[in-house]
Symmetry: C2
Subunit: 217 residues, 2 copies
């Protein structure tokens, strides 16, 4: 059974800790801050007050037996880098580390971090795209120029079927699912009639999505 450790119980680390625990995973939660550790005593399998830059502490905690450690220390870049370095030297198979900026990421890559994440930066991009395009409720990059977007159907599309609108032929986009009230219709049929309050999940090249959205939404 896979074991995890989360070092740093801020908003990001704390959320990972909660979500892994909610999915039944065994999590060791570690932080310098006593209040934060107490908050996680009821959530994680184990919650310990410790300084992750102390190698002896990491060894004592049996961190060596853990399959995947997440380092979610924020402002203290030094502590984040030192912790990541020691974890790899202790032989931890996989570490995911939160990076503060590009310089931080470069160093983490050089010292062997398996995954480097930029939660605020990436959510900022996503929200920027949602903001630019009012009708786009969510936007996820598939590649540099393709995305998955959630679009409110609106009055132009309400009452029409997918084959009427022929979105794929006209815009090269694919409506892969429709969210209607609390349901999700995956791979809707061509005969599906769109309702004004529907949310369409659309995949396509960014410029095609943009064109689709300008004309039909």
């Amino acid at each position: 059974k896979k074991e995890f450790a989360v070092i740093g119980l801020g908003r990001f680390g704390g959320s990972i800790c909660r979500e892994l625990s909610k999915e039944g995973m065994e999590v060791l939660a570690i932080d310098l801050d006593e209040d934060k550790v107490n908050e996680y005593k009821e959530i994680a399998a184990h919650a310990v007050i410790a300084d992750s830059t102390d190698e002896n502490v990491l060894k004592e905690l049996g961190v060596r037996n853990i399959d995947h450690v997440i380092v979610a220390i924020g402002d203290n870049i030094q502590a984040s880098i030192l912790t990541a370095l020691m974890l790899k030297e202790l032989g931890i198979k996989t570490i995911t580390v939160k990076a503060q900026n590009d310089y931080h990421e470069k160093v983490l890559n050089k010292i062997g971090a398996d995954h480097v994440v930029h939660p605020e930066r990436d959510m900022g991009k996503r929200i920027a795209h949602n903001i630019i395009s009012n009708n786009i409720l969510d936007y996820i990059e598939l590649s540099d120029d393709h995305s998955v977007v959630e679009v409110k159907a609106g009055s132009k599309m309400g009452g029409k079927t997918l084959v009427d609108l022929d979105i794929r032929a006209h815009y090269g986009c694919n409506v892969v699912a429709i969210k209607r009230d609390r349901d999700v219709i995956v791979s809707p049929l061509a005969t599906e009639e769109i309702e004004q309050s529907d949310v369409l999940i659309v995949i396509g090249a960014d410029k095609d999505i943009s064109r689709f959205e300008k004309n039909l939404v």
Copy 2:
């Protein structure tokens, strides 16, 4: 032409500022910290050192003419709430506010914030799901029990066509796109042969995705 303002140039606010500017939007960047403001002088249309909790400053900055203001102040919950309140009282049409925790969100909703976002918390959930399921590279919630996931194809699926695998019939999931090297094949044909290094974009009910992933990945 739509105008935006971003208050708070941390990792999240800074990223929104960059992304909006990159998309050609006019952005007013505001922060208390001189170094941060200087960093954004070359990025945003305007970058100003100011305390957003000072109503006179907000008025002077002409913030009243701005369509959408993003409040990305982090640790100082008081400043975030006060800023949001004043922006709504000044008649700003839409404000998006970053929340530190659920209590912060409750207050923001009561004072009229149009959108409240939890970037670290939501990315934490996403990454937790990626971690639990090694083969899932990315995971986005469509609803409580439906998701869009990116799955590495692997050797079990390599060399088979979509119709061979008949994923929809067996698992109720839909392969809506295939990422191959730098390309994205949207709505792949049933005759498409999967390559081992492909990344499949799959939509379906969570339990079906889970079953698909256990059997075929």
